[in-house]
Subunit: 347 residues, 2 copies
């Protein structure tokens, strides 16, 4: 049996002390971390980037098929991904958590251990936060700070006509895993049989313990490539391409056959009869990068492993189009996730 | 009848557009606000301060006795107070909100209007956030960024022996208002009679629409006074003095008769039979400043209206003491708020 310490036993300060002992400040620019009214960060002539995300129990995650460590890891990584999507490195986070009394000190300590594992891997410091009780469920709100030289930051609005559209990794796996986990949860509730999920390990990891593509921005930096626009793919490829087109005032032309799909996703697609391209375009939570570079960098960009050129930027008037494998041209639409229509799913 | 638009009707992006139209960027150092993966802030050789707070429905607020506008205002101001308590000016916030479908677009727009009223008054920019659904209740997480010259930041740990202990404003009113509002809510539930609360207007405002003491740090700046330590009083005077003593490795000696109490609080104290000093020491949410300055600045500090010297810093071995009006010396204890029984505490 696991330890179970109720929060009332150690109190808030006792809990903060436990977390603080797990936390080692890594970045020399953190002047003051946890323990005052605010954290203090040195800037060394760089600008500050800030982004925030919330994760709500039974909206963004279901504790019946993840664990607190993974949940903490993912909560941190999805925030890092927003700074990385600005072509920048995350540096510090604050973590706010509201906890119902269903959960123990050990549960939330495991959540923080996951957060701190991600912090260690991505060289990010936990510098503050707020922990409180909630009447129902678990709420996690993380704010992430990054720094960069002003002229190295990449926005969504810089795509130019003829620019190549590139994506990292592969798309759709996280969405398939969500379908799988929902399916197996129903089976478990009905039959109390623990499912055997080994053969789905890849797609499950993509959902429960995703990574942000800090490696890609390092590779770009090594090749001195600054993309013209960039976004992370949290809501499906279609939605994200449309963001870039909207903010850059451009159109696009992509090729279905170029969209990268992992073979594990293809295998699962057959089980559920949802086409891999549908999952890639409209599924969420892949946390891959979508970016554009000038066409003259085609050979340079191909030097980076795990990047696929899927199309190019066009004039706005040409619209947002995808050429299917059969040669038809269809208009891209952002179905995406909608948090206000479907409570069970991620934004 | 008020407008009631369900969130599903306009969607998240529709809502963000509505809020963005209410929002005007005021600080020239905001390079990019809402609309990309992260906001970008220029630093101009200053360091960055960051702090975060969560407010949870039925833990930190009760929508039956506040309104969305006040709630937004307060949520912003209590965050500003954390940057002000570092002797610094707040500059930008991100706002994360999770909303159950009990609430309409208009409700949450009013919440944002309150946030933006506070932003306007304190010259702070709203630069990002995340809005999502929740199963139960309303959850507001705000992160605030400030900037300052490194050597002007005031921490909790700099108090020196013989330093004067100063507080701004008066203490206890916000706690009394909470007792009042709880009492009147019970009466209302029982009898459906709307209470007449005019005579309590002062203490109610202190609870529902508090201000952060940015005026005090401006006054200190004008007099070129940099306090040796500073904290905002969110959890009661006793708890906050003990934070300063702990972090500065010192003791203190304060005088009960010096603790500033407003006459409205004294009047209400008689109704509920809770001593004003008990409310000041252990009540929460006054958001006044507690700070220490060298004793040689006694005359200087008296030039600032609304500051009271309540005692002085001692050697650690002398403990944390209060001399009562009757001349007894008692040890200060932090009863304060307890996050897992009642309220929260900050990392």
């Amino acid at each position: 049996m696991n330890n179970y310490t109720p929060f009332s036993e150690i109190g808030e300060f006792g809990f903060i002390n436990r977390i603080d002992q797990l936390n080692t400040i890594k970045n020399k620019n953190i002047i003051k971390g946890i323990g005052d009214d605010a954290a203090v960060i040195n800037n060394a002539n760089e600008v500050t980037l800030i982004s925030t995300d919330i994760l709500i129990e039974n909206v963004h995650f279901d504790i019946t098929y993840t664990n607190f460590h993974y949940l903490g890891y993912k909560a941190a990584v999805v925030n890092f991904s927003d700074i990385i999507a600005m072509n920048s490195y995350p540096m510090a986070i604050t973590v706010s958590i509201a906890i119902s009394n269903r959960y123990s000190v050990e549960d939330i300590e495991n959540l923080y251990k996951g957060i701190l594992e991600a912090c260690k891997k991505y060289n990010v410091d936990l510098v503050g936060g707020d922990t409180t009780s909630s009447r129902y469920g678990l709420f996690i709100s993380i704010t992430v700070i990054g720094q960069n030289k002003k002229d190295k930051i990449v926005y969504r609005n810089g795509a130019k006509e003829t620019d190549l559209i590139c994506v990292s990794g592969n798309l759709g796996a996280a969405y398939y895993a969500l379908l799988l986990l929902e399916r197996e949860k129903k089976v478990f509730i009905k039959n109390s049989i623990q499912p055997s999920l080994e053969k789905y390990e890849y797609i499950i990891r993509r959902q429960l313990k995703p990574e942000a593509r800090i490696d890609i921005i390092k590779n770009l930096e090594e090749l001195s490539i600054i993309p013209t626009s960039m976004i992370d793919i949290s809501d499906g490829l279609a939605s994200e391409i449309i963001h870039i087109c909207n903010q850059s005032d451009k159109g696009c032309y992509i090729y279905e056959e170029k969209i990268p799909i992992n073979y594990n996703s293809e295998n699962f697609a057959n089980e559920v009869n949802i086409h891999p391209i549908t999952a890639a375009l409209n599924g969420g939570e892949d946390y891959e990068l979508l970016f554009t570079v000038p066409v003259k960098l085609y050979e340079e960009i191909n030097k980076i492993d795990d990047i696929t050129v899927i199309g190019y930027i066009t004039n706005k008037d040409e619209g947002r189009n995808m050429e299917t494998k059969s040669g038809n041209v269809i208009q891209l639409k952002a179905l995406g996730w909608n948090s206000f229509n479907n409570n069970d799913e991620k934004l």
